[in-house]
Amino acid sequence: MGVHTRRVILEIVAGRVTIAVLEHGRIASAVRLPFAVEHDPNEWSRSLRKLSAELRTHVEQFKLQGCSTTVLYSSPTAVVDLHSTTVSSSGAAAESALLSCTDALPYSSLTAVTQAIVLGRDRNGERRQTHVLVAAERNDVAEAIVECIDESGLKFQAAVPMDALILRRLALQALHQSGELRGSLYVGEHSSFFIVGANGQVDFERRLSFDIHSMVNTLRRPINRAGVEQPIELSQFDATAIVHDYGIPDRDTVVHDPLKLTGTQIIPLLQPLLQRLVVELRQSLRFGVGEKQRDQVTIVLSGPGVRVPNLAETLSKEIGQPVTTDDSWNEFDFTEAVCPRGEMSLAVARGRTIAQLNLEPNSMAQARRTKRVQQWLWTGAAAALAIIAVDYLQYDARLNEAEEQAARLSISAGDIEALKATSTKLKSTVDALAKLESHITRETGNSTSFRAIMNELTHWTPQSVRLTSINFQLVESRMVGQVNGYVFNSKVTSEEAVLERYIDDLRESPLFQTVSLGNVQIGSMSGQDGRRFEAEVVAESAPWMLIQQQLTVVSGTTLATDGDDAP
């Protein structure tokens, strides 16, 4: 069985120490040791140190070294209180309870270890209250517990006052109960509580100065018998047995046969305790419950006190109200180290509550916090490293992708270079071609069409005009021509008018830039009198295509030789 599957619950109370070994959440074995403690806190701590040696023996015997150990204890300095406040916020209620508790501590709050746990809030009532369970302990006592556990070879896990678990259970029962007003009287082995509540509301809670242990202690005081000089003192075992077997006996009942003790001898010892309990209960009912409701309160006795014979009846008789018993506590057996209904069994399934009420020393709490922060740090570092690893993989993938792209680019770079070279060469070629084209245009682009000129002259030359020669010469990129001929009188117009009209017509032609009349003199041609003229024309230069559009069909020539007949 591994160490981690076993836990140890160590009960340290007045008179005994119980070691219970839990396996898989159930008590597998237990051993009870006698433990004499003092009421002085310092002495109590010293007793613990002495206890560690004895514990070690049992730890080694049961091979419990290193087992996590929860300590349920009852010490003179442990403070457990149920604090009720109208504050609804859990956090504020807990803080308020802690403040109230530390103010009431019999020792300095600076040397105290405190814990608080919110149990719940009243479900009904005009002034609903939040109930907080507060536990406190002196830091040095808490350290002594830890030392004791560590030195015994166990591993300290938590230390919780036994009363805290008992009070927690009672308060929760009261909060969850419904129906009539009910007083829960818990009589424990080492502490007792009285809680009154109804309809999910806790009216009040009170710690009672009565418990079974105090009954046993009372019975261990010297007992005087009639006729016997020497008083007798009962052993712890005998006193405990009398309490559990006879409780509050009749006067004639023999409670210890060997010593011939009867109720007559022990009732006077128990009387003050019972009297005080009754007074406390009456006061509680008087001040905690309204007068009208007081008679309606049903008192239920629970806890190990149920197994004290005649306790319920005695209380009922003294208080004057019915006191019933919680029969589930009938299973309680004080002779067993751990019984199903024992107080120790409260700790078995209350891991979370124990963790919340853990009164560990400040240094240990600090160390635990430090360790937790360190764990967070390392967890954060691990998460960061995981992110870094993911980042690395992502970047690696992107880098591979980029390298592939770069490789593709480098492959196409050769093609691009060749293309660029070709492009550059082509540009120089195009430039050279453009230069050549400009030369071609300059030299041959605009040309004169002799056919068009001849055609145009034919078109505009009338019958009374006879041309004798047409000459054109390229002068400074202009085609300059000289047209010679004769003009004769027509039937209706004079020579001058014909010539003037002829020149005007030529000027209208789009093929000629300028037309100017030169020398005109009297002359004759083929025996016909007329006037000889010279005209200078400058032909338009135009691209061949344009010239072709202007062309008309040559219908005939007007050129005439000197020997030709006049028209």
């Binding site: 490293l385 690395y392 690696d396 120089s428 071609i440 000459n471």
Partner: protein
């Protein structure tokens, strides 16, 4: 005292954790990020500076090259007329015959002159012909539209008498041969082929 120690412990652990994380990042991730940044910058530079090598761009370039080559071949063909006087003679005679014009005198390549800017050489062509006015006009046009670079210089027409209004014409023109720049002569080769 304990508080101080625990604080020191936490700080020490924090520093160690931070150092591990930072160190891990610097060892693993940072070199990759740098390499990636450099590579991406190179790729960006390369892609932005390069001519976009698209199918349409290459096709356009090839088409332009074809145009240039075609034009150069055309110029070379037309230049050939000026360099080959026998061919010029034959072409003129063929035109005259087709137009019914009688060539009385033809001097192809009688004189040469250099064009400005060393653009080429012009070869003078002197033609004296006789024919009908209309035929002569078309003949003159045909001569100037020969498959070469023909440039008219002068024209002189007189009636030659006789029937059908015959005229005698003398036309002087130049057959021009343009010098092809070196880039164009190489352009005809396969060098600029993409």
């Amino acid at each position: 005292m304990n508080n101080n120690k625990s604080h020191r412990d936490i700080i020490a652990h924090g520093v160690i954790c931070a150092a591990i994380c930072i160190g891990g990042w610097m060892m693993l991730v940072q070199p990759k990020t740098r390499a990636l940044a450099n590579l991406e910058a190179n790729i960006a530079e390369q892609t932005s500076s390069d001519v976009p090598l698209t199918q349409s761009g290459v096709e356009a370039l090839a088409a332009r090259v074809e145009q240039v080559k075609s034009r150069v071949q055309d110029v070379q063909q037309r230049n050939a007329l000026a360099t080959d006087s026998a061919r010029l003679y034959g072409e003129v005679m063929k035109l005259a015959e087709s137009r019914g014009v009688l060539i009385e005198r033809l001097k192809p390549g009688s004189d040469e002159r250099k064009l400005a800017d060393n653009a080429g050489i012009a070869t003078r062509v002197d033609i004296t012909a006789k024919g009908e006015y209309e035929s002569m006009a078309m003949f003159l046009d045909d001569v100037l539209r020969l498959n070469g670079f023909m440039r008219p210089i002068s024209l002189s027409i007189q009636p030659s008498g006789g029937a059908n209004q015959m005229v005698s014409a003398r036309i002087v023109c130049e057959a021009v041969r343009f010098n092809l720049p070196e880039q164009l002569t190489s352009a005809t080769a396969k060098e600029i082929a993409p």
